[in-house]
Symmetry: C3
Subunit: 666 residues, 3 copies
Amino acid sequence: MIAPIPFQPDQMQSDRLELGVCYYPEQWPREKWQDDARRMKELGLSWVRVGEFAWAHMEPRPGDLRWEWLDEAIDVLGRAGLKVILGTPTAAPPKWLVDLYPDILPVDTKGTVRKFGARRHYCFSSRRYRQEAARIVEAMAKRYGTHPFVYAWQIDNEYGDHDTVYSYSKEAERAFRLWLAERYGTIDALNAAWGTNFWSMRYGAFEEIELPNNLVEEPSPTHLVDFIRFSSDQVKSFNGMQADLLRRHAPGRPVTHNFMSNNFDFDHYEVGADIDIASWDVYPMGGLLNGRLSDDNKARYLRTGDPDQTAFYHDLYRAVGRGRVWVMEQQPGPVNWASHNQAPADGMVRLWTWLAYAHGADMVSYFRWRQIHYAQEQFHSALLLPNGEPDQGYQEVAQVIAEIARLPAGARRKKAEVALVVDYPSRWASRALPQGRSYDATAIGLDWYAALSRYGIDVDIVGQHCDLDGYAAVFAPDLLIVDAVFVERLAQCGAKALFGPRSGSKTPNLQIPTSLPPGPLNALLDMQVVRVESLPEFHIESVLHGNETYPASVWRETIRTSEPVLASFSGEYRDGAPALVGNSKARYLAVVAQGDLLMKVIGDTLDWAGVARQPDLGDLRVSRRGPLHFAFNFGKVSAEVPAATEAVFHVGERILTPIGVAVWTE
Amino acid sequence: MIAPIPFQPDQMQSDRLELGVCYYPEQWPREKWQDDARRMKELGLSWVRVGEFAWAHMEPRPGDLRWEWLDEAIDVLGRAGLKVILGTPTAAPPKWLVDLYPDILPVDTKGTVRKFGARRHYCFSSRRYRQEAARIVEAMAKRYGTHPFVYAWQIDNEYGDHDTVYSYSKEAERAFRLWLAERYGTIDALNAAWGTNFWSMRYGAFEEIELPNNLVEEPSPTHLVDFIRFSSDQVKSFNGMQADLLRRHAPGRPVTHNFMSNNFDFDHYEVGADIDIASWDVYPMGGLLNGRLSDDNKARYLRTGDPDQTAFYHDLYRAVGRGRVWVMEQQPGPVNWASHNQAPADGMVRLWTWLAYAHGADMVSYFRWRQIHYAQEQFHSALLLPNGEPDQGYQEVAQVIAEIARLPAGARRKKAEVALVVDYPSRWASRALPQGRSYDATAIGLDWYAALSRYGIDVDIVGQHCDLDGYAAVFAPDLLIVDAVFVERLAQCGAKALFGPRSGSKTPNLQIPTSLPPGPLNALLDMQVVRVESLPEFHIESVLHGNETYPASVWRETIRTSEPVLASFSGEYRDGAPALVGNSKARYLAVVAQGDLLMKVIGDTLDWAGVARQPDLGDLRVSRRGPLHFAFNFGKVSAEVPAATEAVFHVGERILTPIGVAVWTE
Amino acid sequence: MIAPIPFQPDQMQSDRLELGVCYYPEQWPREKWQDDARRMKELGLSWVRVGEFAWAHMEPRPGDLRWEWLDEAIDVLGRAGLKVILGTPTAAPPKWLVDLYPDILPVDTKGTVRKFGARRHYCFSSRRYRQEAARIVEAMAKRYGTHPFVYAWQIDNEYGDHDTVYSYSKEAERAFRLWLAERYGTIDALNAAWGTNFWSMRYGAFEEIELPNNLVEEPSPTHLVDFIRFSSDQVKSFNGMQADLLRRHAPGRPVTHNFMSNNFDFDHYEVGADIDIASWDVYPMGGLLNGRLSDDNKARYLRTGDPDQTAFYHDLYRAVGRGRVWVMEQQPGPVNWASHNQAPADGMVRLWTWLAYAHGADMVSYFRWRQIHYAQEQFHSALLLPNGEPDQGYQEVAQVIAEIARLPAGARRKKAEVALVVDYPSRWASRALPQGRSYDATAIGLDWYAALSRYGIDVDIVGQHCDLDGYAAVFAPDLLIVDAVFVERLAQCGAKALFGPRSGSKTPNLQIPTSLPPGPLNALLDMQVVRVESLPEFHIESVLHGNETYPASVWRETIRTSEPVLASFSGEYRDGAPALVGNSKARYLAVVAQGDLLMKVIGDTLDWAGVARQPDLGDLRVSRRGPLHFAFNFGKVSAEVPAATEAVFHVGERILTPIGVAVWTE
């Protein structure tokens, strides 16, 4: 029997990659727990997450708290040598609770109450739910806060899943009014911000305000974006309430939340500020199908996933976690929830694990230990088949564990040379004012990231609040709302900057800047945007850059500027108009660039900023973590990794086969 | 004047095909009835259906029963020599009734009450509606049960049309709770079946259960499928209530219901068990447009319809009617309700009539006698134009009537060599757990049937309850839930069996079998399915079968087996993995086969089972009824029918022109 | 300072084109008004529209009427020499009003109340809203009715925008019942008209009738079309109420309403009968994207708009205004509300202005003066940028103003040789009975108009009530409901007539005529339609016309006739059946003709009627206004205009460059 590891702060953080798994003791007979724990440890796992959907087991009837099963489960897991991450169960209140207090339930955009029977059936604005959530979390925290086997806490589960950040309930309306009163102070200030002189929309009091659903036509964009901001703040305060309770009763134990990819419904930086480690749930197969690629490219990457999407979110959540990021759920095989659910290629579970480590994750936990044979996720694969036999993912985890030992310890990811700006309020701004069905900020941001990755560049994702010192280049693909302080810090740091179209085009109140767009960016660039247009899919613009002409679409701006013109539009409409302008500090792109044009512009910008780059890596991706160099082959043929001739390979080889991983030092 | 035919049991069933028509005396002036009846008889019709939408005429005000118009209509029709099928009017309760008792109205999935103004505006769970339906049916049955001209009864009309099997009303919720209490006995048993340990979904009492609509995310699949089963049982008991009343008051008169194609919302075998003859409504033009074929094939068969869909439903409803099947409504020309409403080719009304007879129908009734010039179906053609002139369909019916006399009498359809399993609970299982948007059990079942038909095979459709003795081959394209008794009977009979992917993959409670899929089929095949995946349209798998490679898509399974591998996957993912395995008794296909691969697998299976087959018949279809051989040409060029050289042709010739019908004996 | 122009009837109508602009003093600081007015006048504008969304400024609290700001604004504008069009503010009731009387709010088709927060948030049937609207309009009219600077009145704004003609409120239900009682007198008459003998739909009293939403299946088409007619009448009476008040208090000032393109939700002729000038809002960029053209053609005309759609609506609203038509809002650049919002080519604002004048408009007003920097329409361009600088549109307006002086004065549009029938009840008939998803009456009407335009023909659009004398040819593409009086007048006038399929196919109660279609047209043509079919996109019919075979689709009819057959169907289905029949007076087309077939049929008909035509003009369009000939080049290459050799060019030249305008006399 392996000795248990009671909580010790220095055990929290290994100097090597650690692995874990999600486990649901409440779903399996107690007689299996012991053996499961033993096999987890045998495989080489260090962490186990439990509890985050077990409220009905903790409190089967009002006030009837039952901890003995959880006591035993934690004991069994801890004694086996596993560090427990304990989840608060607030993502799924029990039926008796929503029956007692129906105003817990969220309301959808049509005004229909969303019923019990799945999960996330609560409204963040329900005062009653806040009380009840606090009650159960405090009870848990008191009981397990200093438990020797409980090493970390997860709050709730996947905020925003199933479109649950926004609730159109009476409770939300009430809270929204208070939030607006707080934000604006006077109703006149709100009228000015929302522009209610338009269409006779003027309000006489905060009590008159309603939620922006079921209108005759779209609401004021400021009305809409304020509702998004309010909803984001509700998530932050709900999460913060739990974090406070945990900090009080579980001192020294880090607190996390498991975020999702592809969700910009609330400001993750804001929620991240209240936790110790940002974790997220990695599902590249569904991510591919829901994502930005064409059907041809989806077919090409069907069993590997988008080569850049997963890395992007590692880098984003590293920023959200201020440097500390975990994978709380890693897809271990095919799952159940996407429009189609293809299997990953054999080897991808290993590849994704090393990809996470390369991008800064210190822990990767697989979802889940054993495939469950019932309920909604019975098609979700696991490390074990439903009958307990090891599945493909199990074998790959075993391989990773063997490989960990071959790497030098203590590698830490360094600050990158290149920063990419992701700004939640700007995302909300383009959502509230899309001005064209094809403008997709999420896709644009990923496209820029992917272009950087194809040049072999390590990227830090930053918000406007982040430190910019030391970056050679800052890329801002969709920074609609620019903070003047950010511009000043950018001006003062040494970085070159590339801005996408729409940058600086909106004030914080979602109005056009008095000086015309790009508003505060005029501190860097002498230019005005005097016309914008969004373009349908079937229309192609031409951009002349150097001696080449490139197709472009989606969005075009007309710029008036004294800055040098670096590329221009060609064609019958405003032939020769600037498409890319810039000076020695900053450049501005007047078009949504994709494909070859985007590669050209990004490559040029890197050269200009003096950032060394690889030639286009094709399906290969590279990343660095301290002294370690990583390469990943997402393609269908072998490829040579860009390693120095004297490189020492710890994992893999210079010629990397498909789905292969190489790790070397130089 | 032709002598009337008062009810005599031996008149019920002719030894030749009989024809009929649907007629609505309440829609025409009384002065037309006599002439209409005379012309029906003159044309050669034997049957006339009346009454199924006439409640407002039978009872214009609460309790004010008016039978005299119906007395007269039946009298006029009967005296003309026609046998009357009388319909109960419960598919369309009158306005005053739903105003008196608003809880009769059904509720849609969003929770909105579905209003009066069309038809089928009732909830099967409304206790009040059951009382009122019983009241009007009993009154009718008492009056006409032993009427000399009323030969048969139709209950209600087209259960399930307009998505009306499922109602989300308070009455349905109440009835669902009772049904669940009956099914499970204890709430713990329900919790176990639904897997409510997942996501904290545990229920404390049956009174806590709600209907599975408007949830935040999908419900437990068992919750959903139990609601489908409950709703199916509600249809059965509503129908059974009427059947009991009719049997009591109309002894000896057969009872039918007119089912629809393409509706699997309730278990038709279960409803069929309570009636004497299964009838159905044949609309191949809309069926084509709503159906499984590609747009290219829809264009090809635009004016003939899918060559297999109609035959499939004849065979299905022959099983539902335990051998007795009628066509209650046959499309006589273009209709009104599809997305587009093309005209059938001239000759198709005749072809469909003979197709019905070949597949076992004893009676074909056309919808309707005269095109109506008002209301929702005014574009629905009829045997007569709105002004009373014969339309195209009339001429074709006259031709059929002339041809009937040229055939030998007494032909009965024999048991086929080949059975195809259609199982309603399995259909519901894949609906509740689709696991991939492309998996369409209805299309898969039809594809398998069509492949058999293209080889000239007569097929019996069977449920798991049916007798399997005498079949040489049993095909189960989508039997997700396999009954152990069925497996045992299959094992004991002489048939070879081919199972499609997902067979045996779910227990009756929609859980994964403890032994892994294919669960009970392990009695026939030593194999386990260790991975399933659903695949998007743009991805193609390759299957190596014999020396040929075939494309495949939609669904792929990874199988572990000791059985011989008969075909395998080829390609970069799990190259060589089994795609078809089997032993001397059963084969299992690990992929959704379509096109050439499906033809190859079905053809091989027939050969293996020793079932003689034709070469691929292309657009020709054949069928046998007793000594009679039928061929139908759905193509655009003439084709030779597969008749013995000594064949005697009663209708048509060996070289069959497009839209042609040939009938011969050998 | 330019002298103010106090109201004088003879100043109302210039003998040259006048220009104007929409202005919102309530949205700008008072200190800007003076300068704005001065610059408007300086540019050469004559008209300014104000007030139509300012209720909250006129009455910020119940009964607290504030006119001083409007007094001042009108004074400033009038003193600058501008003629004011004053809008009633009823399109946007203030928040306090809908909070006081919630039954003002409209209800959508699902039964959901449509909330405050944008515009048009009122139900036309709300009795309370009628009172309140009358109150504010009367107050305005009393104050400004004889104001020396107020030259004209606009009622409300864009009836029908955001799908607001139809409201499913309790107030609407109540009013609908009264309207039905008025229309039918007895419930039996309604039952007969709606055909409630079908599906047991019979009503016992008007109080039983409900609105035709949320039914199980489609309602009786007569039920639906009566609701459309009722809703149309509600718009008419709401508008008429305001017109009456304005006439009483503002004698001699013309009253207008600004209609929209692409809206057939109410009978514009009926509303037009109550106003003095029909005006409309010209947005060709969004019109293109929402319109009838293929994606290829949308790409081709991306920055010019559909070359025929705008002209069509000029001609339609000229009919609605009984000869008097204004453009109240002209797109001055890219806007904000379409799926994409491309910029018009430079020169299009000028082109559209001259196009309007050529088609009979006497005044063109641009929307709007200065781009607003907040609220829903902040991306809507204007004559000035948000910072007050002139934008592209401003420059083009200046060019137009310079050109106006170069044209002879007093040109009036003459009656055309060709009339095209647009009939609202017929449009509603095909909406209520589409009988095929591809049948689009709006597209069909525009296609016919476009074919005439490509032959250089000036067209008058006419309703069935219009005078037909003097026309050489009358085209009726979709006249489903034909009035017998119209047929008689058509028979007596000298015009030749071409009818599209479905003509005369429905009685006013939406039933099939007793004599079969084309019903009343039998007075002109000896024929019956004995079969109709709608056809899916993927199926093509062939029509043999002369020696050529043409593709056709969408709709096909089978005709029985003694008239000469002018074109026939060819192919496997009913080969040789008539596709076009006719005699010396009228022709009937049995198919929806498009593309080459339509050009062939329209060209032949013009020749037959003796109307001189040009060869196909391609991307050139021509129009005549009195002695003035206009040509417009919508293409990408220069083209020669069809001017006589002796033509004198006042604007442009014989060889017209892309986006060019030529005006000449001959």
